[in-house]
Symmetry: C2
């Protein structure tokens, strides 16, 4: 029945011709598909990102006449696409999980290939727990890995954690999707979201047809949360009849890089406790902290419960973490978890059902969660190399952040707070009126216009502030500080001067 | 700030006490969360599956007094949890992708560890394409892998395939979720779904608040599609004002194991072309075919387009495949793809945006897609072993299917068609009235009652037919034929006899 493959070329031609002979149109079109998806915005991988990929292909194939020889993807926190190397210990273990037959050659592994005994032992432990990384795990994740996460949380916070309330997920994004899908009951439901924010939140709320109740972060206080502003947003939403059910906090911040103080966190918890709001604490950048100290919502809430027995026990907290960021940077493996505190068992049962429909998180990603929360300890054979690699990544990120910050501080009309954490800087830019007019003529926001010009001139891809939301009348862009070297930073500085000169 | 970890035990006690002091209740409860999620049913990992895990733990810890010494998870198509071994070539490549440092020791790999040169070459090719398996890929997947999928489809079908319309996904489930999320516009939208069906479809439609428009498969015609029945369902839905937009076909069938004839497929395509329905062809079991031949919807549609130029060009087809099933069986890695044919570009742009919100499919799973569609070929160093492993898995599945079928054919009141494909048998069972009454007293469907009794008595976990939908008044269960040996089959036979004796 199958025609020989040599007919394929003529079939390509025939298909192209017959396609034009269609007598009917497709049944799905832009107007009749799910308009909640159409309304969702996700600039991080939007027009700029797509154009940057076109440029990258043109450079590979030597087509196009571009004024740069390299595309720099500073639009997305993708450490291993740029300079960050995976942690050796982690990848040694995952290689053994992928090919357990290697464990029949321990001597070769240790003597010729640089594996230490603790990497081999860990692989054996994980293989015993998962059977095969090619098998589905339990819906909420491998039980032994959930236990490791609980132990990690207990050591991090000094308070008990229960593996039964820990859910392994395909990155934090999948966890956020699960939580919002359960929390948002109908189009009347609302969720408080910081502005600027990582657009996963607004996009997911749009798809769920629920309200984003935005609260502005305070750029002049290092992008901290301002309780008065949160209250005002909440009250405004209430007066419109919106049933606000949860508050999202991203700490350290994305795109802002801010690291919240304990006082800010206490304020949010008190507010959530008073108003009966679920707290969604997005803590995926918890190890990317350069200034001050990371305070987990779980720890602060636990402290408050200890200080005032009976007052916070009804608070529902979901906190998320991921293998994608930090010194781990394994975003391609799609691993993460969320911990639930204080949720009603019947609600947790529905969360379990929801995650089970998608079967389970990728098992090798789950194993990387285990490695992240339970890395080599002092005294372990792999510890010295692990420590050296981890520290070197941390220092590298801090140095790049500072170099980029220093470049921004010299640019005309650009203001940028000191880098505190995460992988991003989010400078304010002053855009001249002439540029604002030129942007309007193209139907773009001024900062989108700026970012597009930057990409066209330098090959550096950033995300315009309007992709995250910002205070009306202010303009920003988000750039990662993951790309190595300073040459690309120089390109930005030069572009900016020319842009200002052109439109001043 | 952090209290020392030695305080943890007392804190566990304190937490338990203060929890009882809560003055307010949680804000989320079973009544006020998203009722569309509450309404969703997903029996494959439901009560029976949860209970089977409890039994498994009791056996591990020696607690409980169970009449069996092993739990058999025949409820879920999870090949590597049971007897199926991963394909060596695939896992050699993925181990190198996880630890590229191994590529500095090619001689050791080849001389001491059994890697052939083609495994090493493939790993190098994939690493060049993905940079690192720890980095996010492009949203629709790694371009080189999408090209491999297109070549595979061209070779399989003899018709052109365009990599730009191929989307790599986290298993087929994630692809189905994407497609239904785009297609279903509002609560008026409907999708034709075969009954019995894999409950992902009804669960997803429930979450999307869209209508499942069920059409019964014909058990007496080997669970084939019956066009008259489909039309009747469609018309009935229309008369209720439902805007039916798509038809799902699972081929080979889940849970039925049926393999559709080309004539059945042509009928569905003609119907979809006439009524303007999107075809969702779930073809994840395409290599699990024991009887007859797998016909892809893409090939049959392409043939029909060739035969009648102008008549089928408006047809929209989405076909899905996965690394989870077949002789690959890598479900824990969450990999798959869907190909779109005939979709409007503006609709595809929304599909792209939707998948980009979740960033990308797990990259190591994407690489396994590449390995599945582009395995070793005759003449390649790894081919003999690949071929031997692949054929042996295929034969093993067929033998087990036949053995199980033969056991069912001897059981009182049980009818089961000859195994044709997929990983399941779906026998009809006759349940005595006394058992139906006993089930009703427990608030259960009769087949759920049967499956629960089976689990309690034998440790064999199956899924009741009501979890998939079935013709009213008929009862079934679905079992995989993945578990090795025949001892568990004997347990089923013995249980069945006792059940019938008890309730006759």
């Amino acid at each position: 029945m199958t025609p020989p493959i040599k007919d394929l070329k003529s079939r390509v031609r025939i298909a192209a011709v017959t396609r034009t002979m269609a007598t009917k149109t497709t049944s799905l079109n832009f107007e009749n598909i799910n308009q909640k998806v159409v309304a969702a915005k996700y600039a991080v991988r939007g027009e700029l990102a797509v154009k940057s990929e076109v440029y990258r292909q043109q450079l590979v194939h030597g087509t196009g006449d571009l004024p740069f020889d390299k595309v720099i993807s500073a639009n997305i926190g993708n450490p291993q696409q740029l300079d960050q190397k995976p942690i050796t210990f982690f990848r040694q273990v995952t290689s053994l999980l992928e090919n357990p037959q290697l464990l029949q050659h321990e001597e070769v592994l240790e003597k010729s290939l640089g594996y230490k005994s603790d990497a081999i032992d860990r692989a054996k432990f994980l293989l015993k727990s998962v059977q095969s990384v090619g098998a589905y795990s339990a819906s909420a994740g491998v039980p032994a890995i959930r236990q490791s996460v609980a132990r990690f949380l207990e050591e991090r916070d000094g308070y008990p954690a229960d593996p039964n309330h820990i859910y392994l997920s395909a990155g934090a994004s999948s966890g956020v999707n699960t939580l919002l899908s359960i929390i948002c009951a109908d189009k009347n439901s609302g969720v408080l979201v910081p502005i600027p924010q990582y657009p996963l939140y607004t996009a997911s709320l749009s798809v769920l047809d629920a309200h984003c109740v935005p609260y502005l972060l305070d750029e002049h206080k290092s992008w901290g949360t301002d309780l008065a502003v949160i209250k005002q947003s909440y009250e405004e939403a209430k007066s419109k009849g919106i049933d606000t059910r949860a508050i999202v906090v991203i700490n350290p911040g994305n795109p802002t890089g801010a690291s919240l103080t304990e006082a800010d966190i206490r304020n949010v918890i008190n507010f959530a406790a008073d108003e009966g709001l679920v707290i969604i604490a997005d803590e995926v950048y918890q190890t990317n902290v350069f200034v001050g100290k990371f305070h987990s919502f779980k720890q602060v809430l636990s402290q408050m419960m200890e200080e005032h027995p009976g007052r916070y026990e009804h608070v529902e907290l979901a906190s998320l973490h991921s293998i994608s960021k930090g010194m781990v940077g394994e975003c391609g493996h799609r691993g993460g978890y969320f911990e639930l505190v204080g949720f009603d068992p019947s609600v947790e049962a529905e969360i379990y059902k929801f995650v089970s429909i998608m079967l389970c998180a990728p098992v090798i990603g789950q194993c990387l969660v285990e490695l992240m929360v339970n890395p080599p300890k002092p005294g372990d054979p792999s510890f010295p190399q692990y420590k050296q690699e981890y520290d070197s990544i941390f220092k590298g990120l801090r140095e790049r952040a500072r170099a980029l910050h220093s470049a921004f501080s010299q640019m005309e009309g650009v203001e940028c707070g000191e880098p505190q954490g995460s992988m991003y800087l989010f400078p304010t830019i002053t855009i001249p009126q002439k540029a604002i007019d030129a942007a309007a003529a193209e139907g773009r926001q001024p900062d989108e216009f700026y970012a597009m010009r930057l990409l066209d001139a330098t090959g550096v891809c950033v995300v315009a502030g309007s992709g995250f939301g910002q205070k009306p009348g202010t303009w920003h862009f988000r750039t990662t500080f993951l790309a190595p070297g300073t040459e690309w930073v120089d390109r930005i500085v030069k572009f900016h001067q020319e842009f200002m000169d052109e439109f001043r």
